[in-house]
Symmetry: C2
Subunit: 250 residues, 2 copies
């Protein structure tokens, strides 16, 4: 047994926010995600991997603590239904206001609660060249295992900060406009986005909160193009974020 | 007790594909989804609802079998963590090739496996005025409770068919082009979509299958706009579908 019972218990606890906060660590699972992690600047605490994975990735792991494990041992520590050869424990990244580049595009999330949505938004933002996301404190936490999973490795390339949004939007050195998506708002078709603009996406059910709404300079809306009123009432938050980011980049 | 143990068992079984196929029924939960169901042409078998919901929706339910239930009874039949006042059992819709309008936009899904992705795609398609979706037989089934949930009521407005895709694409009366998303393909920015075109979205991991690929007339690609190669490798399938449908409608 190359991995102790205590160690297994410790790793499994990292599925809970409380223990991630205490230890300041989080779990990354799967070949693609761990590879992206090891290529990033994030600090890796320990890598648990099968002998075959380790043999193939010797160059990637030379400066990292490595624990060879059997498939059975991996099954005992994984949160996935099918463990994928490797699991890493990494230190949680911490960014501050000083890390934000206000000349660059900025995505703001006001209360995204679903881990799949946040993970998908991080992945999509990474695809569309966004490098920074500010979340409200009530948004789901980036290092939640379901979020990390849904980012498909993009967590390792994205600066994600949690800040009080009204304070941030009032006091930060935002140079562009502050766009927010609303049911009523001008069509994104008519907007001429600039590189230093801010895009705000709201909560899955409630949208953008009243306090944040006051600080939005331009309300925008994704047109449905449907000819009758009898159609979907809204879009999923990660879909709305994707369409707005695509339009921003076009 | 206004709902028998047998009835509870019958309803709970509808979470499984096998029993949905046997009974040709499926479950719809929640106020928004059941309301959309009752406004649609789909046949409703039975509605289980609290007395307060029934009092508020008397007009909607006058031609439907109604079973008043307590909150506790709803908790026993629901698949949700928080039951939402009403659960309906409906007959599964069945569409055939003859129901497809080849003059209208058509979305084709080749092996979408994740229920959340299919549900989100149906919801997004409904938002962007698509009325019909053809899925490969290995795609997740529309009336899976997680799919129905993610559609947010849009299941009731969408024709969803399951057909052998190579046969369909070869033999159906498709008048427009057959676009498929690939890692290599021309940018969607350069495409002039027509109303009778077909859009194919592939499986979450493997993309469009080799047999279907042969029948694609135009390979397309969602540009990443990222300046370095170090970014997300791909987009989530429901995100890709949304961006292509948005571009189609612009």
């Amino acid at each position: 047994m190359s991995i102790s019972k205590n160690k297994i218990a410790e790793i499994k606890k990292l599925a809970q926010k409380k223990f991630r906060e205490e230890s300041d660590c989080f779990i990354v699972e799967g070949i693609k995600s761990v590879s992206d992690l090891l290529h990033s600047k994030l600090k890796v605490v320990e890598v648990f991997a099968t002998v075959s994975w380790l043999a193939e990735h010797a160059d990637l792991t030379k400066n990292v603590n490595v624990v060879p494990v059997s498939e059975t041992e991996l099954e005992r520590i994984t949160a996935l239904t099918t463990p994928q050869q490797v699991l890493a424990v990494a230190q949680r990244p911490h960014y501050s206001l000083a890390d934000i580049d206000f000349a660059d595009a900025l995505l703001v999330l006001d209360g995204i609660r679903d881990p799949g949505n946040l993970g998908t938004i991080v992945r999509t933002a990474d695809w569309f060249g966004f490098k920074q996301i500010v979340c409200s404190p009530d948004s789901v936490e980036l290092t939640n295992p379901k979020v990390i999973q849904a980012t498909m490795g993009s967590f390792s390339r994205m600066k994600v900060l949690y800040l009080n949004l009204p304070d941030f939007l009032k006091n930060a050195k935002i140079k562009g406009k502050i766009y927010g998506t609303f049911m009523q708002g001008r069509s994104i078709e008519t907007v001429d986005f600039q590189q230093n603009d801010v895009l705000i996406i709201g909560n899955e059910g409630k949208g953008i909160s009243a306090e944040v709404e006051k600080l939005v300079t331009d309300k925008i809306h994704i047109p449905s193009f449907a000819h009758s009123a009898d159609h979907a009432e809204s879009l999923n938050a990660s879909i709305a974020a994707a369409v707005v980011m695509y339009r921003f980049r076009m």
